[in-house]
């Protein structure tokens, strides 16, 4: 385990570089994710926010640099160890990425079935528990993903990500495409799950409301690296970077900032 200023670092990224063709998206990117925090990654489009998540979770290989997962270097992990680590996180993809041929309940049970030998009755109970925890009505359990609305698919995807009680969840644009009420519900849900399950939340987002209401820390991707990290109010009051200034002090940011809206208590 790695500690820094008294907090455990669960993910440590150092010197990451990645390019697609002639397009270099990062040259040397450093990032730490601490246990128990809600970290929001922001950045303009094309800065590689989603790619960073894919690199950390091993879906994509970086050109250079190291990714440390729970104190292990991702490069030197054996497939066996990698699997053990993969069981410790859950990923919510943008549109839920539910398996379309399975019902919601079966979707939630996929990780349990794959990695553990649990009796069916217990899997059913646990899946129902996860289903209600993410705020889905119980009768959604037997529906197929194509019968659900976008917001419900996201919740079901989150329930699947939480199936094995992970330590970290990665959320890719969790509130994109939701109406303001649904998005606000989702913010509360993330905070609540983070408290109940002791989760570390890594989220890629554009949503200023989400950032101001739930994020503990924000990491800003610009100029081919993480230019700054800090709490949302810190970044708003001392931007020190043109992009951050535009993002956190723009018209929309002023409307969403904590003066106007109460923060969900941690």
């Amino acid at each position: 385990m790695i500690f820094e200023s008294g907090r455990e670092v669960v993910i440590r990224v150092r010197g990451l570089a990645k390019s697609f063709g002639s397009n270099r998206i990062w040259t040397s990117l450093d990032l730490d994710v601490f246990r128990g925090e809600i970290l929001a990654i922001v950045g303009g489009s094309g800065q590689g926010k989603s790619v960073l998540m894919r690199v950390i979770t091993g879906l994509e290989k970086p050109d250079a640099g190291d990714v440390g997962l729970f104190g292990h270097n991702a490069k030197t992990l054996s497939p066996q160890d990698r699997l053990t680590i993969e069981k410790r996180w859950g990923i919510l993809f943008q549109d839920g990425a539910l398996f379309s041929s399975l019902t919601v309940l079966q979707n939630i049970q996929v990780p349990m079935r794959e990695h553990l030998k649990l009796p069916q009755a217990m899997m059913d109970d646990l899946a129902f528990l996860k289903l209600t925890m993410v705020g889905l009505p119980p009768d959604a359990a037997y529906k197929f993903p194509s019968e659900l609305s976008g917001g419900m698919r996201k919740r079901a995807g989150l329930a699947r990500a939480l199936a094995l009680d992970p330590e970290i969840v990665f959320l890719d644009e969790p509130t994109a495409g939701l109406d303001p009420i649904g998005a606000s519900d989702f913010d509360h849900l993330i905070r609540k799950l983070q408290q109940t399950l002791g989760l570390t939340v890594y989220m890629v987002t554009h949503d200023l409301d989400t950032i101001f209401t739930v994020a503990d820390r924000v990491a800003v991707l610009a100029d081919k690296k993480i230019v700054r990290t800090g709490s949302p109010s810190e970044l708003q009051h001392h931007p020190n970077h043109p992009w951050i200034k535009e993002y956190f002090c723009g018209e929309r940011a002023r409307a969403a900032s904590p003066g106007q809206r109460p923060r969900i208590p941690a």
Binding site: F128, L129, M133, D165, Q195, L197
Partner: protein
């Protein structure tokens, strides 16, 4: 999972989960220790199921879930504790938790409140009724298919008439593209298959006719078979598999991504833009491919005739001239445009029937190929009856 705050746990201690039940005064205590996590849940589950629910001798007995010894807990562990606690509660013991940290307490309360949610009951159907239901659905499905296909034929014909009136609306690029994909690119495979089948039929014909001394007639058989049936059938089946399925997949995935709906709202008729170019491309391509198939079938027969009968090219051609006339050739060719219409219509119609999921796409692609081949063979049978009726 939640770890007990500020506590050093030895790895072995943390891993081994367990519990014991003891009676202390008037309190039944379940003392839980170790890691109550999903990885250990199976073991805990069976041990807890073996545990008998204590029956309180008098009402003032209470229950206690002592979780002070638990090092790690997650929803699965909390759920197991909660299940035990509610069983005790149901037997008349007032049960409470002891030794929970703040974070453990939040989790347990969450599981408690969520666990009580009502679940929907899945209706189970009588298997016989289910069977009868499925049969009815399958039969009405056949009828619906007939109706839909006829209606679609009407729509496409109307679209065709519109196109004749306003020829500038015809999508030439799309037509050429599909002509290339469905026609030109199918040439090698169709040529090869027809050539091989022609050769095989010739070889088998010679072997079977030899006992009667009639092996030269194998040439007649191959020539008539190739021109009337094999050329068109093989080609149509290949095209149904290659292009019919491709049409369904292309149109189906557009349907899935709401592209078809977008077209409709923009005032573009999907029949004009998607269906007509495809169907017309097939109507042009399939007769050409059939002609190719006929020739290759005859060529395959010729090569094999040289091999097993020792017929050289000139005498093979002479025999062909004796065996077949133009009518035989036309009896095969006339079916090609009809088969093309069937394959094109079925492929496009199935594509338009695709709904949201990827599974639905797969189902419709399969059914497009199956239906197209089935209908092509029916068509062939109808033509056989008709042609023999008029004496061709």
């Amino acid at each position: 999972m939640l770890k007990r705050d500020h506590q050093v746990v030895l790895p072995t201690q943390a891993r081994a989960p367990g519990f014991r039940v003891e009676l202390k005064g008037t309190t039944f205590r379940l003392v839980a220790t170790g890691a109550w996590t999903v990885a250990e849940a199976t073991q805990l589950d069976s041990a807890l199921k073996r545990l008998r629910v204590p029956i309180p001798p008098t009402p003032d007995f209470t229950g206690e879930m002592d979780i002070a010894g638990i090092a790690e807990i997650d929803t699965a562990g909390a759920w197991l504790l909660q299940r035990t606690a509610s069983a005790w509660q149901a037997s008349g013991l007032r049960t409470h938790y002891a030794g929970a940290t703040e974070s453990f307490r939040i989790l347990i309360e969450e599981v408690q409140s969520r666990g009580n949610a009502k679940r929907p009951v899945l209706e189970k159907q009588n298997p016989l009724l289910q069977f009868a239901d499925d049969m009815t659905r399958a039969l009405t499905g056949v009828w619906q298919d007939v109706v839909q296909l006829t209606a679609f034929l009407g729509e496409v014909t109307a679209g065709f008439v519109r196109m004749i009136r306003q020829p500038w609306r015809f999508r030439v690029t799309s037509f050429v593209h599909h002509l290339d994909h469905a026609g030109l690119r199918a040439v090698p495979i169709i040529a090869l298959i027809c050539f091989l089948i022609g050769a095989v039929v010739m070889q088998q014909g010679v072997v079977q006719l030899r006992p009667f001394g009639a092996e030269p007639f194998a040439v007649n058989m191959v020539a008539i078979l190739a021109l009337r049936e094999v050329g068109i059938l093989l080609t149509a089946i290949m095209v149904a598999g290659r292009s019919g399925s491709a049409f369904t997949a292309e149109i189906g995935s557009m349907k899935m991504r709401e592209e078809i709906d977008a077209m409709r709202t923009l005032g573009i008729d999907p029949i004009d833009t998607l269906v007509l170019p495809r169907v017309l491309a097939l109507v042009v391509a399939l007769p050409l491919l059939t002609f190719l198939g006929d020739i290759m079938g005859l060529a395959g027969g010729g090569v094999m005739a040289f091999g097993v009968l020792g017929l050289d090219f000139a005498s093979y051609m002479d025999k062909l001239h004796e065996a077949v006339d133009f009518q035989h050739f036309m009896a095969g060719m006339i079916k090609a445009p009809f088969a093309a219409i069937i394959i094109g219509l079925v492929g496009c119609l199935e594509g338009l029937k695709v709904e949201g999921s990827a599974e639905s796409l797969g189902k419709h692609v399969t059914s497009a190929v199956v239906k197209a081949i089935f209908l092509v063979i029916i068509l062939d049978a109808i033509f056989a009856m008709f042609l023999s009726g008029i004496g061709v």
